[in-house]
């Protein structure tokens, strides 16, 4: 029923009712430690924490976590290839693989490989930790928490509306696509292109109408420019706070230790 499986997990996992601030703080602190330390070991540990959060605490299968993470990781992987493969002057030392090209060589050096690996791990960890947040925390909780933190109203309201209308417009787009398909709108490449164009422009018009209708309906309920709603009152969990402190504490100790020991 839910076109977005990530969203479905967010509403149905064992951390659903945990305080959103706990999950947000954990995600931000862990990502920041990984980004600042830039150490592969720290990133791997951060990734491990995120995996444990998602699987052990939230009860989401490891396979699902991997399913969601593999696409961004695939992108990251193709991205870092360009970091690993570099051009160096011909005959430069340290090339592991080299392809001569005039006075230059295109190849992989130990240094470039290390750099690519580092960027890969940092990105992998950041994506994994963020995904951990996305899988365990529904958008509603995120926006509510941002409101409690006094993030500017406009920003939070836009987040709310965009999130809501993703689904409304997606339903509309799907219905239009099926209707086009039923009338052979996608049977050839040319028709495909034409149909997609029509769908996109129509969707834009629909979105516009939707916005007008929404404004009308909100006005009927006393809208005066501010989308205020009742906030939930989530409860803090001592266990979660302790876990976050221990996990991020260990991560920080590792990061600082590596930095001082000069290993990273």
């Amino acid at each position: 029923m839910n076109p977005f499986p990530i969203d479905a997990y967010a509403y149905a996992n064992r951390l659903r009712w945990a305080h959103p601030a706990e999950k947000i703080v954990f995600a931000i602190v862990t990502v920041v430690i990984c980004l600042v330390s830039r150490s592969p070991l720290v990133c791997l540990l951060g990734l491990l924490w995120a995996t444990l959060e998602v699987t052990l605490l939230a009860g989401i299968p490891l396979g699902a976590f991997w399913y969601f993470i593999r696409v961004p990781v695939g992108f990251i992987f193709t991205g870092v290839i360009t970091l690993a493969v570099i051009g160096v002057p011909a005959g430069a030392p340290g090339a592991l693989v080299a392809l001569p090209l005039g006075p230059w060589e295109i190849g992989i050096t130990a240094a470039s490989l290390a750099q690519a690996g580092q960027v890969f791990l940092i990105s992998f960890a950041s994506v994994g930790i963020t995904l951990g947040l996305a899988l365990t925390t529904p958008m509603v909780d995120l926006t509510e928490q941002l409101r409690r933190w006094h993030v500017p109203q406009l920003f939070v309201e836009l987040m709310t509306l965009i999130y809501r209308f993703i689904f409304v417009l997606l339903e509309t787009a799907q219905a239009m696509r099926i209707a086009q398909e039923a009338r052979l709108g996608y049977s050839t490449w040319g028709r495909w292109l034409r149909s997609v164009g029509m769908l996109a422009s129509n969707l834009f018009l629909r979105a516009n109408t939707r916005a007008t209708n929404l404004f009308t309906a909100l006005s009927a309920r006393g809208y005066t420019g501010e989308l205020r709603v009742l906030q939930a009152e989530p409860v803090w969990s001592r266990r979660n706070i302790a876990l976050i402190a221990v996990a991020d504490g260990l991560l920080l100790v590792l990061a600082v230790g590596l930095k001082l020991g000069g290993l990273a």
């Binding site: 029923m1 529904p138 809501r164 409304v168 006005s219 006393g222 009742l230 939930a232």
Partner: protein
């Protein structure tokens, strides 16, 4: 029909058949004439001479005058494009009449902010498409939007939300995201969102359109409960069966004009009126009229509103027939052409 409208607010203010002693042609007068003649007593909402044209030139309302009686269940019928939705937007102050005026409790509606807020607190508008009404990601948040806009403190808002949730029986949905609800569930959440503002009048645009029979029955049950709690309910529909069974006052519109008004048995028995409004006679009433014309049913029988009531009538007629001597079975003087006009059932005692 003296005294029919006078009796103040019983649960069913309209007697099924306006059973007066006068059983002359007056009682059987077509609904249309009843409109012009009768000023509705105690109208909670009314429009007077309202004209409205959209920017593209479509005239949606033409010098429309009608009234919504207080504490009643009013159904506004009309084909697509007859101006029902435009009328509803006027009733909630979303659209401002270009000519004429809207009255709430007998007072002309103002269009400055405070007056509009008051109007929208007292008149709750439920839109046809729940997706245009539900903006929040969670059901609870969405329902709380209205009461918060009334400036109520959080704990009061919480109470109102809880009450609206209980009234609409959506306890199991409150923590669900709005986008995972079915169409029928969204409809009920949309009503809860309006209900939480505790309006006197609930105006619902096509509340049963697109619902399956069970969801329709639930929704009608919900409207009945809200009505039983003392609210005035106005719906628009083109479901004549539903209007006959549910409403106790019916308004028929065509091209932005009022074509007829009155109790459903009267309005729906007027075939000409229905035809010009591009509607049809409800099957229950049509069957009843045919049976009466055939003499199976007594000419004085009260028009039924539901299939069950019709079945009771037929069963009663059949059982008396068995007791009666055979000669009475033959419909000799049933007065076939006049039958339609006797639809109010009060004629020919």
């Amino acid at each position: 029909m003296p005294g029919v409208h006078g009796g103040d607010h019983g649960p069913t203010p309209y007697p099924r058949a306006p059973g007066g002693e006068d059983e002359g042609p007056l009682a059987a007068a077509p609904a249309r004439r009843a409109v012009a003649g009768e000023p509705l007593p105690d109208a909670v909402l009314a429009v007077e001479g309202v004209t409205f044209a959209y920017q593209d030139g479509t005239v949606a309302l033409r010098d429309l005058t009608l009234a919504v009686p207080r504490h009643r269940k009013t159904a506004i019928l009309g084909a697509n494009g007859s101006g029902k939705s435009t009328l509803f937007l006027h009733l909630d102050g979303i659209l401002k009449p270009q000519r004429g005026r809207v009255l709430l409790g007998g007072q002309p509606v103002g269009y400055e902010r405070a007056a509009l807020n008051d109007l929208r607190r007292r008149v709750g508008l439920v839109f046809q498409d729940p997706d245009s009404q539900l903006f929040a990601a969670s059901v609870r948040q969405d329902i709380s939007f209205g009461p918060i806009n009334l400036g109520l403190p959080d704990d009061v808002v919480r109470q109102k939300v809880a009450a609206a949730v209980a009234d609409t029986q959506i306890e199991d949905l409150v923590d669900r995201p709005t986008h995972l609800l079915s169409y029928g569930q969204k409809k009920r959440v949309a009503i809860a969102g309006v209900l939480a503002m505790e309006p006197e009048v609930i105006v619902a645009d096509e509340p049963t359109a697109g619902l399956d029979p069970e969801a329709t029955a639930r929704l009608v049950g919900l409207l009945d409960r809200l009505h039983a709690h003392g609210r005035t309910i106005v719906i628009s529909t083109h479901d004549v069966e539903m209007a006959l069974a549910w409403a106790d006052h019916v308004l028929v519109m065509r091209r932005g004009e009022l074509l007829g008004a009155g109790p459903p048995e009267t309005v729906f028995a007027d075939e000409d009126l229905l035809k010009s409004a591009r509607l049809v006679t409800p099957i229950v009433l049509d069957t009843f009229l045919r049976l009466r014309r055939l003499g199976v049913l007594d000419a004085a029988a009260t028009p039924p509103r539901t299939a069950a009531e019709l079945a009771d009538l037929v069963a009663a007629a059949v059982s008396t027939e068995h007791d009666a001597p055979p000669s009475r079975r033959v419909p000799s003087d049933a007065g076939v052409p006049a039958a339609a006009e006797q639809a109010t059932g009060s004629a020919a005692g």
